[in-house]
Homo-oligomer: 330 residues x 2
């Protein structure tokens, strides 16, 4: 329509017509005019094929993102991811095509894996298959994990929540309020985020000279003599409080309960737990930032974001024990 070649249109469209390659102002205007009239837009697919970039960022979760079961947990991450993708001018691709087979998890790599459709990918989830991580690395697929991951045949790019310092701060607070016997309830293994919490706990009790117990469930907790308990997840905290109340114990008067994470499974509760806040939205944002960095210059950047302490109302001084004179940490 403008009487020029495809090349010329491409050059004009991409503003390449000013440096090395020259197109006269006249021709350029004519092309732009036609583009305006027809609303022509370069096919993004062809574009991607040619220059190996999509401006599409993939989001992979082993579970469905939206359904209520996990929505509350994933939502804040997605908010951050969306915000940052928007700023970066990228679209988000949700890998919903990988059907969740009965009783199994989604797989990143299947016969029809579409992971490569995107320029890079954000991995969301409590755990990620180590094999999957290794393969992502060996295949050179750019990605960033939301949540710290151990090496998988090489360093894994991630943005994690820095639990140890936050857990330590909580333990110090409890110690300052006279607690000398603390329990940690939760599996403490499996996901890196769990072991980080447990490690933080172990180190912290040692540092403050308190006694630390690790229980995998609330059972037996009340026989240990612990006056404060750190729950690995919100669900654990809720269960502990319920069990305590059934025994006629008051929280926090008789037992302080600190929660170390948001719910990953749906729990409805109005309890205003003392604990820490996982900076989920910030993690989402940061993951996209790191991903664009990986796309530009490669590497395996790793970043830990601090967890904020939540004041709450489930931590109190130990009963019948004088509060130490140590100042309350903040």
């Amino acid at each position: 329509m403008a009487g020029v070649s495809q090349t010329t249109v491409s050059l004009v469209l991409n503003g390449r017509a000013e440096g090395e390659v020259r197109i006269s102002q006249e021709t350029r205007d004519r092309v732009l005019q036609v583009i305006r009239e027809t609303g022509y837009v370069a096919d993004p697919v062809a574009r991607r094929l040619a220059d190996r970039r999509n401006r599409i960022l993939g989001v992979f979760t082993y579970e469905a993102v939206f359904p209520a079961e996990s929505a509350d947990f994933y939502h804040p991450f997605l908010v951050g991811i969306e915000e940052c993708a928007e700023e970066a001018g990228c679209d988000l691709l949700l890998f919903t095509s990988a059907k969740v087979v009965q009783g199994e998890r989604r797989r990143i790599f299947s016969a029809e894996s579409r992971i490569r459709l995107a320029d890079g990918c954000v991995l969301l989830g409590r755990t990620v298959d180590k094999d999957d991580l290794a393969r992502l690395l060996t295949e050179g697929i750019p990605f960033v994990s939301v949540g710290r991951r151990d090496d998988a045949g090489g360093p894994v790019p991630y943005v994690g929540a820095d639990y140890p310092p936050a857990v330590r701060a909580l333990v110090e607070r409890a110690a300052a309020l006279g607690h000398r016997r603390l329990a940690y309830v939760g599996v403490g293994v499996g996901a890196e985020s769990y072991s980080d919490r447990l490690r933080g706990f172990t180190e912290a009790v040692a540092a403050v000279g308190a006694e630390g117990l690790h229980l995998t469930s609330a059972d037996g907790l009340f026989d240990t003599g612990a006056t404060a308990v750190l729950a690995e997840e919100l669900a654990d905290g809720v269960a502990i409080v319920r069990a305590a109340r059934e025994r006629g114990l008051d929280v926090p008067r008789d037992l302080s309960v600190l929660v170390l994470g948001a719910h990953t499974t749906p729990v409805r509760t109005d309890i205003d737990f003392t604990g820490l806040r996982i900076p989920r939205r910030e993690m989402g944002r940061r993951a996209v930032e790191l991903l664009t960095q990986v796309l530009e210059s490669g590497g395996a950047p790793q970043d830990m974001l601090p967890c904020e302490l939540v004041e709450g109302s489930t931590l109190a001084p130990v009963q019948n024990a004088p509060v130490q004179n140590a100042p309350v940490q903040n």
Copy 2:
């Protein structure tokens, strides 16, 4: 690696090696073996370029989908969309690249519109620009709107909520409880969903022989003598109840308040409104179903899904007026 041509791999990969074109079992096995070993996956981008199909469905909203402001409203739609996309084996592309310019809405068509990246697109939002719809139609871009839309230079494919019958049922209920003077509070124009509600109201009051008033806001409502009010949106309902209480009126004893829609803006309320339920999740599902239909056979399918009545507790018989003997509609 298998000592065969790219064509052969393509044929094997797509199972085309059985009909017209033949590949020996031996060769096929060899190719499949190598595919298994290397984890080779056809580049979806090249694939799309070649056969014009992606198995990617786009989701376009004028506002950001995830942020809290609109999350509660959009979420149920997305649940349905994701479910159905998963069943269809499609990935979802969220068009986050179109930046929301200060004070403006996102645009479907911009200089860098990426709408064509997807095979087709689901449009989400209270309103959709008529120009955008017209252009989608003329450019032959497959899409389905969530929410009924008036023609835009041609019929628009959509799945909508069927307000009129539900509104009518509510009006009939109110009438059966003695209400003869009903008010509708809301703009009643702008979005098709609003005019549908108002139209349902107007027709219903006429049908039951009651008196109907249309107010664009709650101001002046209490001078009209209306004993029941239908609020266009949840926010309107909340405002009305608040205003009523400030005047010392009890809801529903002195004033019945029916709500005709979910919140599109965030409102926190514990009021158990009588009203109707927009089948959002179902609409999301249906939208994807219709979209796949459009992709396969074209056309502009339109579907209206029924709204469910919500019993609630804000509808009561008119005070000082005998309840009519008419049976309560259900």
